[in-house]
Structures are given as C-alpha cells and as structure tokens.
Symmetry: C2
Subunit: 517 residues, 2 copies
C-alpha cells in the first residue's frame, strides 16, 4: 500500500479501527528504520570527521556495544578498510541480507544506489545526502522517489539527519559527538538518554540543538526523526508507528512549511491524539517569520490562523516558543491530562507562589479558594504540628520556609483529595533548613495516588536544585526551574484534557493511563 494511501486519508474521517489497520501495515513497512537486522552505510568514508566516517563509526560502535542489535556493513566504491572492517565496493557484495541502507553518497548517485538496494532486498533507506529540491534539483528528487517506489523501499530524507533511536541504537546523525576547546574534548552533539518522547523536526540543525538542550535538562528521548525534504516517510507514518511503540508517550513536532499540514495529517493526528498527545512548534508564526521560512526552506509558511485552527482540530498543543515546546512535551509524557482547569498551588516560598499565580491567570488557569472541608483539614495539620503555624491557606497554599517534608505530603494530599481540584503545582524550593532530600519522594508518592497531574518547580541551577529536579523526574513528576515554566507545562496537561473531554474519551484515556516510573 506504500505511500499512495495518504491521498485517501485526506478524504475521510479516520476511525479508531482504521487507525489500527493502517498502523499495522505501516509498521511492517518501516520497522527496519528502528529495528533493523543489518545496516549498510553506503558512502562510509576514511575521511576523518566527514559524514560517512562519523555515521559508520557510531553505528559500528553501537553494534559492537550491543545497543544496536544489527550487523553494520560499510560500502565505499573504492573498497578498502575502516575501523578494522572491510569496506565493500557495492552493497551487492555484502554476504548478508540488508534491510536498512544509510545513504551518504553525492546526490546524483542516489537513484542508482537505490536500484542496487532494491536488488539486494533493502526495505528502508535513510538518505542523508543533500543537493536535491532544497537547491532546485527538483527533477533529481522526483527520480529518487520514483526509484524508491519502484523498488518498494521506504525513504526518510533526503537532506536530513535521518534517525536517532535512543532505545535501539540506530543513529544516522553525522555530527561528531565531541569538539575540542581549550585542549579539552567537550560534548558538542550529545545523544539524549532513553526516554518517552518522539521528536519530528523539519529542520535538522534545530533538531540537533534541541537534542543538546534536552540532554542538558535531563529529558529523555525515544526517537528523533529528521526527514529533511520529506519525500516519503512523514508525520503520518510516524503517528502510525508511535501508536504501537511503548517507548513513545508524547510526540513533539517542529514544522515550518504549510505543505506539512495537509488534510490527511489533520485527520490522522486527530484520531492519534485520542491515544497519545502531540505538541507542535511552528516556525514562521508571524509575517516576518513567514518571510524567513520562505528564505530558509523555500516553502510557504501559510497563515498562522489556519495553522492554529488545524492544530486545534488535531487536538495538538500549540507551543509559542522553544521552551514551551519542550516543557509541554515533558509534562505530557510524564503525567495524566487534567479533567479541568482548577489548580491548587502548594509552595514553601510566597514570592514564587505569587509569580506562579500571575502566570496562571495569564494563561486562563483557575485557582479556586479552599473549601471549608479543606481548610479544617489543613488547620488540623497545623494543630498537629505537621504544617507550620505561619502557613497561609488561600491558594497558593503557602506552607512557608518553616515547612518540613511531611508538611508537603499532607498539604498536597489534602488539596488533591478535593473534588474541585483538577491538578496541582508544587513549588518545592529546597532552601528551607528543615527540608531533607526525602521531601521529593514524599511528594511523588502522594502524586502517584491520584490520576490528577502534578508538576513540580524548584528554582536554582546548582547541586541541590539539580538533584531535586532530577529526582522528581525519575519519579515521574516533571519538574521545572521557574514557577512560570511550571504553570505553562501544567497548562499543556489542562489543554490536552480539554481535547479528550470534547472528544468524549477522557475517562477511557485515564483508565488506561499508567505512571512512567
């Protein structure tokens, strides 16, 4: 059914059954991208740090370490040897079956290489080579697609970075992992740790920057797809894949051009969103931005209102900037959606609570005052000496700098037990002297008792602040370094919950939802 089916998907409403059916077919076709049996790097090169050198090296090492459960072969038209491995002059010489070809040869050779791949029985190709429609070579690109179709080969690319899969070790990113500065070898293009986010990017350079940012923030990744000119495999295929991939709990997409947002995509995404959340960052949201898009990828950025409407229809979360893009996705990967926009803020710092409150009102979050029942519970906890006497209960619930570990546990549990509270933001500044590191586990343990989202904030950039946030993340409570970022992240869970409610599937979704940790 390769490829042409997408035309049809634009014409009909996608039902849950259709999603399942298409998914099972597409998964079979594209599986070798992520779970290959044997990979051939066509264009493996002895030129140190060149794309063909880096790619072959990384894949070979991943295979030797056992991260990648596939054999890796190098192909170079001149033959020879690299990293102790024979380089074959052609893929046809390899004495093994190959299902995934990574192609790095100059653009003009790609069609003939694809023909050879076809004869060899290759199922999928990551075409890294550039020099196609992005510089006007439209005809050559058309020929690549035609050749791939003729040979039944699914293609990611050309002119992208291909695939990085943190779980399976597939890594076609040709950028060296390290660079030298001040005589030291520094991480320059880090690969994020295993995680639950699938990241699709129209821009390879931005994609890599985001991976670097994710690594720094300790956010894990399932897989990254940089499809460049995107002549074949696109968001739709990846939604079908993600539906059945347990390592994908949320999808984030960076897109620029309008052609990315066809009817088929909207139809499929809308059904997919009932199962897993999508976050979209659109480059070219403004007039000036749209001009920049035209100059960058020679594609039309389109009217931002059309985009927003489409994204809304898809049930996807629209991110305003890079930080929201990542924070929203992290929150959605970690926590269940909220059933409404009534939030309780629990904090040990009054000022931080106020900043969160300001941001909450700006984004439309409601902070209901405490019920009589809640107030009496909290006051009892004060009498029992669990919550400090100076605490104030007006939402924000400010348990003060005299708070101890149990103050948090009791306050959070009390607010989450309220029927009119849908979610909680816990501002857990680590500085107060009575707090021990155990308070993180206590908060996470309370959060796990409810299918209501909890998001944590600790402000700071050093040892203890990093430790606290990492521990929260490890326990499945997404954490952020400023109150406003915490609110924006929580709001993504509220917006997603609203979509699921509108579609009548929230209860079903929450029934199936399981914690990450």
């Amino acid at each position: 059914m390769t490829m042409s089916y997408k035309m049809d998907l634009g014409k009909m409403k996608i039902t849950s059954e259709m999603l399942e059916k298409y998914a099972s077919e597409v998964i079979k076709e594209i599986e070798p991208f992520f779970k290959p049996k044997a990979i051939a790097v066509i264009g493996a090169s002895r030129d140190v740090n060149s794309p063909g050198w880096v790619t072959f090296k990384i894949l070979l090492e991943n295979s030797q370490k056992g991260v990648l459960k596939a054999k890796v072969y190098g192909v170079n038209i001149k033959g020879g040897e690299l990293f102790g491995q024979k380089l074959y002059k052609s893929i046809s010489e390899i004495p093994d079956q190959i299902d995934h070809a990574v192609i790095l040869v100059p653009a003009k050779y790609v069609p003939s290489v694809l023909d050879e791949c076809g004869k060899k029985g290759v199922k999928v190709a990551s075409i890294i080579s550039a020099g196609f429609s992005e510089i006007g070579n439209v005809e050559l690109e058309r020929k690549v697609l035609e050749t791939a179709r003729k040979n039944g080969i699914r293609v990611i690319g050309p002119n992208g970075l291909g695939v990085f899969d943190a779980w399976n070790g597939v890594d076609t990113m040709f950028l060296p992992t390290t660079k030298m500065a001040d005589g030291k070898e520094l991480l320059a293009c880090p690969r994020p740790k295993k995680g639950y986010i699938m990241f699709l990017s129209q821009s390879g350079a931005l994609g890599v920057s985001v991976l670097d940012y994710m690594y720094g923030e300790g956010i894990g990744l399932s897989k990254f797809i940089s499809y460049g000119n995107k002549i074949d495999v696109d968001e739709i295929d990846m939604f079908f894949w993600a539906l059945k991939d347990d390592t994908v709990r949320a999808v984030m997409i960076y897109m620029e051009g309008i052609k990315s947002l066809g009817r088929a995509l909207v139809n499929v995404a809308r059904e997919f969103s009932k199962h897993k959340p999508i976050v979209i960052l659109k480059g070219g949201k403004t007039k000036a931005g749209a001009r920049a898009v035209a100059s960058h990828t020679a594609s039309l950025a389109g009217d931002v209102k059309v985009y927003e409407a489409a994204v809304n229809k898809m049930g996807a979360i629209w991110a305003e900037d890079l930080i929201e893009f990542l924070d929203a996705t992290k929150a959605l990967a970690f926590q269940p959606p909220a059933a409404g926009n009534n939030v309780a803020i629990v904090t040990d710092g009054g000022g931080a609570g106020i900043l969160a409150t300001d941001k909450a009102e700006r984004v439309g979050i409601n902070l209901p005052p405490p019920s009589e029942k809640l107030l009496s519970k909290l006051k009892q906890a004060q009498k029992d000496g669990i919550i400090p006497s100076v605490a104030t209960f007006a939402n924000p619930y400010d348990i003060s700098g005299s708070a101890g570990d149990d103050s948090y546990a009791v306050a959070l549990e009390s607010v989450l037990e309220e029927e009119n509270i849908d979610a909680a933001l816990v501002i857990a500044l680590h500085h107060p002297p009575l707090l021990t590191p155990k308070f993180v586990d206590k908060i996470a343990s309370v959060a796990s008792k409810f299918k209501k989202p909890v998001v944590a904030v600790d402000i700071g950039g050093t040892g203890m602040a990093k430790w606290v946030r990492e521990r929260f993340d490890d326990l499945g409570v997404p954490s952020f370094p400023t109150p406003e970022r915490g609110i924006v992240a929580l709001n993504a869970l509220i917006r997603y919950g609203m979509f699921l409610k509108r579609e009548g599937v929230l209860d079903e979704y929450l029934d199936k939802w399981r914690p990450i940790a």
Copy 2:
C-alpha cells in the same frame, strides 16, 4: 539627614545635581554595610546550622580568607567560644570599634541591643531577626525604628536576609551553603560569583532562589539586599549607593507591595535611570496574583496599570517573568543600549533564525531587509569564499551550517556597519563541523568595535554549548540558550535606549559607556 529627607524627595523633580548631593551624603551613612571595618554578629550561636551559627561562620571565614576586609566578632549573652573565637557577652565588651552590627537575637531584645550598639558607636545594623510587623507586632517594629534613629544607626531589615556582597565578602545570609543528598554534600544556597548586578528583593526566599539560578547560569552579582520589612534602608538609598559603585552596572528589583512605589522612589529612579538601568519584576500583576500578595506580605499589590505607568516613568524595564527579569538585567549589565529597534539576526541555523524572527515581531522589533550596499558586501564575501555559497541574506542572515569562524566575523561586521541597524542578535549554534571554538572570540571582537548592542544565542545544555556561552559572557557579549530568550534580552536594550533618547541623554550615555571585559 537620616531618613526624613525621603519625604521631601517625593515633592520635587530630582535634578542631576541633587542626585549627586544626596548620593554623597547617603553613601557616607550606609558605607559600613558594604565596606565595614569591624562586624559584630549579635546572636552568634553554638547551635549547629542555626542562623546565628551559619552567619558567624561565613563572616569569620570570609574575614580569615581576606575576602572580607573587616574583623568579625561574635556576641552571645552566655559568652563562651565558637570556631576558636571568644564570644562576648555584650557588644560593649568588644575591645575594638564596631561599625556594622548583624543582629539575630529574638525580636523583643532588638531595641535594647540597638541602644547598646548606639553606645558602642555602631553606624549600621543588618537586623535579621523576625517577629515584627509581618506577624502583627507593629508597635515593636516602630520602637526598633525609633531606637535606631535615636542612635543614628541605619538599618537593613528586619525580617530579611540582609546583605550579600560578592566583592567585599559581607554575607549575612543565614542559609547553609550546602545540604546532604545521597550521602553527598551538594551546593544548596550558592553565592554567585563577582559581577555587575545589584539585586534588591522584597522576598528573601525568592531572592535566594534567584541567586541559586544566577549561579547556575554563571551570572555574576555585585550585591544582594534582602530588606524584609524595610523600615529604613530601601530602594532609594540603594540607588544613591549604586550611582557611585563601579561594581553596579544594572539594578534588578523584585517587589510586591504598592508602598514600595511611592513618589520619592519614582522621582529618584527616573534620574538614576539616566545613569544606570533598572529592571523590575512585580509580584501580583494579576487579580489572582494581587490576592496572593495580600496573603503573603499583608500589603496591597495595587493596580498593575498604575505600576506599569510608574515603572515606565522611572525609565525602568518591566519584566513579565523570572526569566525575563534575569535575562534583561544581564543584557543591560553587559551591553550598551540600542539607539533604535532595527535589528539584524545572523545565524548558522535557519530554524533558530525563524524562531527568533517570530519572537522579534511579537515584541515589536523591526528586521529591516538588507540595503544594496550590504548585499553587495555579503555577496563579495561569498565570492571570496568567506561566507558559504548556500548562505541567504534576507534578515535573518543565514550563513548556514557550512559557516566557518570568519563567516561570522564578516557577516556581523557588515550588518553592524549599516546605519539603519541598531543592534544584532548572533545565533551561534556550535554544532556545524567547520566552526572552531575561536568563532566566539571573533564575534566578540567585532562586537567590541561598535557601540551597538550584540546578544548571542547558542542552544544546548552540554559541554560545548556551556563553554560557548560562558566564553561569550566572559568577553562581555551576553549569551542565552534559546533564540526567544535572546530576543527578549535584546529588547530590554532597545527599551532602555528609547528611554534615554526620550530624556535626551542617549548620546551622552553612549559616550561614557565602557565594555565590561
């Protein structure tokens, strides 16, 4: 002239001469807060990790290390010894002149301690003790102020953290520097490195969190003042001080209550702003936020529009959230203000350039297209092989992932030479293979030739990205980890330039302006 003069300041327009005159008087009075000859810690305690223990320890260590050029004495009513030092039963017993008292005794003893300080000739007191108006003890607080005035003692506090001065080693913050987690000693309340920002905070807890955040982002600090209930020394005094303090290049203020924003403050700030920039973050900008302020400090948050108008009149930059608060201040401390809102974006990543463009339009920054002259210069650089042939020149100037170190230097110099360009954002993603670490120095060197602000962005959270940003900062080019944050920071320099222009002092300001590095 202690204190009462502030009433008068609200009634008149402050001239440059008056600013100078008041400054010289106030500086004399409050100098011992920052350059004491001898400090007495009244309430030094043998109770490990208690405020009196931590404060005495830190001050003593700073003195012993020579960071603090003052002798440090401990006072405890019971006498005894701590850290090998005698504890005096009363300040009157200390065989030395004392000019700065740090007071940590229970609230009710503070008036009598102040009387003793007066007899001893103490000039200033940091009153850390809590238990005054914040819990309803208004009368006691009034008595503290009265006693201080009677004795000619200027007061910071009570109920705050006091003073932290990175240059002179005065540090009255009673929070322990480290905490234990997983058996390791982690930085929990780090002290930022020496820098050029003065931070005034109405909230001690938020203040400490921000210091932690600054430390993590590598932002330096001149001094931090946490004045708590602020019965005496306030923003006005600190403006007078900052005017003549070369370690202060920008002032950031976190405030909640409306009483902070009296006429005297507006008048003084407006004249001060002609010399050094101020950034203000207001807690309680929304209705919900204002309610939270009332609950936190029992003060009125006031109408946000009144605030915004006052801040505007002051020539201060209004920050929307914590990140903008810090980013704007950092930019203002590092770079000269912009003479207009025409900006050029130079980038090696198309996607990142587009995100910056979107944000630029949102905040009202103009990205003019290249002039014929500029275009021909850039095209010549392409012919000469300095700028890659795939580069596009439409502002953003996308010099592409094939850019080398010199591509940046030539592109940046070319745009800054344009008369209709007031500032530049350089998106310097470090990932492209041809870039060496030298590109940072080349960019900074070009930037230093112009009195036009340049702000840098590198996305990423690991070795090389951190190295690049730190190097930019060291060379006086403020750097940020996302394109949107770079634009917001640059916009602060534009807004400040607009104020200076409106007041007719921009040229004079730029004449005097000197680079940080």
